[in-house]
């Protein structure tokens, strides 16, 4: 009987936290979709498929899946030179976009939850700010 109250409190808090995170992610994805339309869509396109050999895909991209930190780094500081994405070689330039850390987290969450991409861990502003040049 004594256990019930702490258990109840714990359950409520855990559920509350999970729901809070969930809504945080939803909000982040929503904001991220606006950033995507502003900064990304003219190269990577609305379907995230990019243009083979020119603009790498973000949809079902093995690069994005395997190199989370490098992907965030690319959005934060730009990317130049050769990368291989889903078996194709890309040698192009993406400039630093001048986004704030929070905006980067949002657009990463949008990308990582769109076009069949499913991430397990949400990108946070803190994670982005920890990535240095």
């Amino acid at each position: 009987m004594k256990l019930i109250l702490p258990l109840y409190v714990l359950t409520v808090f855990t559920l509350g936290f999970l729901l809070y995170q969930e809504s945080g992610l939803k909000e982040s994805i929503k904001k991220g979709s606006e950033i995507y339309t502003d900064f990304c869509v003219n190269c990577h396109l609305d379907n995230g498929k990019g243009v083979p050999f020119t603009y790498p895909p973000l949809a079902k991209s093995d690069y994005l899946e395997k190199t989370r930190e490098a992907s965030i780094h690319a959005v934060k500081f730009g990317l130049q030179g050769e990368i291989i994405v889903n078996g194709l070689t890309y040698n192009n330039t993406m400039t630093s976009l001048g986004l704030e850390d929070e905006e980067i987290a949002n657009v990463m969450n949008f990308i990582m939850n769109s076009w069949g991409n499913t991430q397990t861990k949400m990108v946070t502003e803190k994670e982005v700010s920890a990535i240095e040049k």
């Binding site: 502003d38 609305d46 192009n92 976009l97 001048g98 986004l99």
Partner: protein, 373 residues
């Protein structure tokens, strides 16, 4: 029955599309190249614009905010350049010399600037002189307002006409439904000024209440090519369409180029923007590209240096990474050629004082095209 009507309508639509003017895949690759591309200035990131000084050295703008002086094979950084707003497509943009540079020494630059009350940035135009590897006598001639944190469509290119007027372009800054068709707002315009920034008394909208009187033409999306025609003296632009619908236009005083009310393009999502490609009172492009090549930079070939090239127009393609040569009969495009394929995103192209063509490629540098006789 209904189905057959729909089908026949569809057929008509498809037929229309297939009859649309020549697409990217109709640009041919020449059998025997008339030049060899030699890397002349190496290790550049995004060489947005460049121009030749009288001593044949080159001033190069890097989008990232550096002004580079390339002299005798060596690069040096020019000091005292304005603070540049780095966001999305914004940065240090075009550079041009005054037509009488030898006498007055004026250099003109466009750049994204965060100056002003609001958060964000907008395109600005300035002029300055070069002294001891540094800019001096800096004068800001125009700053578009209001700032916005949108990442798109800053333009920009600078050109002078035969009467000494200065033209420059600003894109619609990601506010397509408001800016381009509203002459009381900046963005989506080509502007005309005197060389010192004053507004010409005969600019088209000087008598319109509330209008931005520097505007010369409107209804543009994002012009990143602007040049004087070497024979007619007209100002030509090229501009990015959305998905499809990049254009070449001849710029006329007070004219409306239609964006976003008329376009040959569609939204990036594939949904239509409008069904209209023509509308009364709106200018038609002399050429459009479907799909988009993402044009940047523009130069006319004025010499016989390259076989049969005289009178052609050269345009860089960012998306498909090549240099396009458009063969013209008057203002009609009769043939298109794909040159320098797969070298990288072609950002700018110029005819040098030596009558050779110079091509700036992102991530590479500036190539000089050596003619093959």
């Amino acid at each position: 029955m209904k189905n057959s009507i729909v089908l026949s309508l569809l057929f008509v639509v498809i037929l229309n599309y297939s009859c649309a003017q020549d697409a990217e895949n109709k640009a041919t690759t020449p059998n025997s190249p008339v030049f060899k591309a030699e890397l002349f200035v190496d290790e550049l990131q995004i060489p947005w614009g460049f121009t030749f000084l009288p001593d044949k050295s080159i001033l190069i703008t890097e989008k990232g905010g550096e002004l580079i002086h390339f002299l005798n094979g060596k690069k040096s950084i020019i000091g005292n350049i304005p603070e540049v707003y780095q966001r999305g497509q914004g940065g240090l943009l075009d550079i041009a010399l005054h037509p009488n540079y030898n006498e007055n020494g004026w250099i003109y630059l466009t750049y994204a600037s965060s100056e002003g009350e609001e958060k964000g940035g907008h395109t600005a135009l300035m002029r300055a002189k070069l002294d001891n590897n540094s800019l001096t006598n800096i004068e800001q001639l125009y700053k578009a307002v209001p700032n916005t944190t949108k990442g798109q469509h800053f333009g920009s290119r600078i050109a002078f006409d035969n009467d000494g007027y200065l033209y420059f372009s600003i894109g619609e800054r990601g506010n397509r439904d408001i800016n381009p068709q509203d002459i009381t707002r900046d963005g989506g315009k080509i502007y005309r000024l005197y060389d010192d920034g004053r507004i010409p008394e005969d600019n088209p909208f000087v008598d319109v209440d509330g209008a931005k009187t520097a505007i010369f033409s409107y209804g543009h999306r994002n012009p990143q090519g602007l040049i004087k025609h070497p024979i007619t003296g007209e100002i030509w632009d090229n501009e990015h369409g959305p998905r499809g619908g990049d254009e070449i236009n001849i710029i006329k005083k007070g004219a409306n180029y239609g964006w976003p009310l008329t376009t040959y393009g569609i939204n990036y999502s594939g949904t239509p923007i409008t069904d209209e490609t023509t509308m009364e009172g709106m200018e038609q492009p002399i050429h459009y590209w479907v799909p988009s090549i993402a044009p940047s930079g523009m130069a006319f070939v004025t010499s016989d240096t390259y076989k049969d090239w005289k009178g052609s127009l050269l345009v860089g393609s960012l998306a498909f990474q090549y240099l396009e040569r458009l063969v013209l009969e008057g203002d009609k495009v009769v043939k298109r050629e794909k040159l320098m394929a797969d070298l990288g995103r072609v950002r700018a192209v110029q005819e040098g004082p030596d009558e050779l063509i110079y091509v700036a490629v992102e991530g590479k540098g500036i190539y000089k095209l050596i003619p093959i006789k």
